[in-house]
């Protein structure tokens, strides 16, 4: 089980950083993962990364309602049509 606990976005040295904070089952240890540099944030991209981080058994992801996958600069034109199934 991978539970998303936060999305952090900021600029540093001209590059946009996106970090995901997650928690695994039965663990109070939070992990921080860099999603990538200069990429736009959308739900599909984050779900794909969370699924990749699930290393044990079938993929089970928890996405709390209060966490929004909104890019810090708004929705990019190329991301408007991404469907999340």
């Amino acid at each position: 089980m991978v539970e998303l606990r936060g999305i952090i976005q900021y600029y540093d040295d001209g590059q946009k950083h996106v970090k995901l904070v997650i928690r695994r089952e039965h663990s109070d240890i939070y992990e921080t993962h860099e999603l990538g540099l200069d990429i736009s944030v959308n739900k599909g991209r984050i779900l794909a990364e969370l699924a990749r981080l699930e290393t044990a058994g079938p993929v089970r992801l928890i996405w709390p309602h209060h966490i929004k996958a909104e890019d810090m600069e708004g929705v990019k034109e190329n991301d408007k049509d991404i469907k999340v199934g």
Binding site: R5, G6, I7, I8, Q9, Y10, Y11, D12, D13, G14, H17, V21, I29, Y30, T32, P64, H66, I67, K68, A69, E70, M72, E73
Partner: protein, 154 residues
Amino acid sequence: MAHGLPDYYRGVDIAYQALSELINRPKYGAAQSVRGSTACGPNNTKTLFTVSGKGIIYGGVLYYYPTSSQYNGRFIYKIDGQTIVDEWAWVLNNFGIKDPLCHPMVVLLFDNVNFDYCFGLAYGYTFESSFSMQYQETNGGAFVLYHRIAFALI
């Protein structure tokens, strides 16, 4: 188990178990930080950072040393989508807004001769869904704004 039964006969039950001491504390979450720098262009509004999640702000500083005055720079600080600070830099300085118990954002250094500026974020503000900071450049200058923010995500 205090009553001599194996644990599998009964789960944790505070009333049943003869605990001599119970430690109770809030869950504070895991410490995180944002340590970045944002290029601010003339007459532009830039988002410096955004955090989505639940937690508490430990504090932070924003500092910059442009080559010309940023007297009229404007900060927009949002928590849970609500604007809690929308203020010009000079206002924080001129009115001595320096006490973090009174205001979520305070002035730490405002040197309008050498153009060194530093502003602080107050400790202890909690957020249920997000917090973010924007800076609006209104003086026609370009410079880099540095930010060091500490917080916890629950």
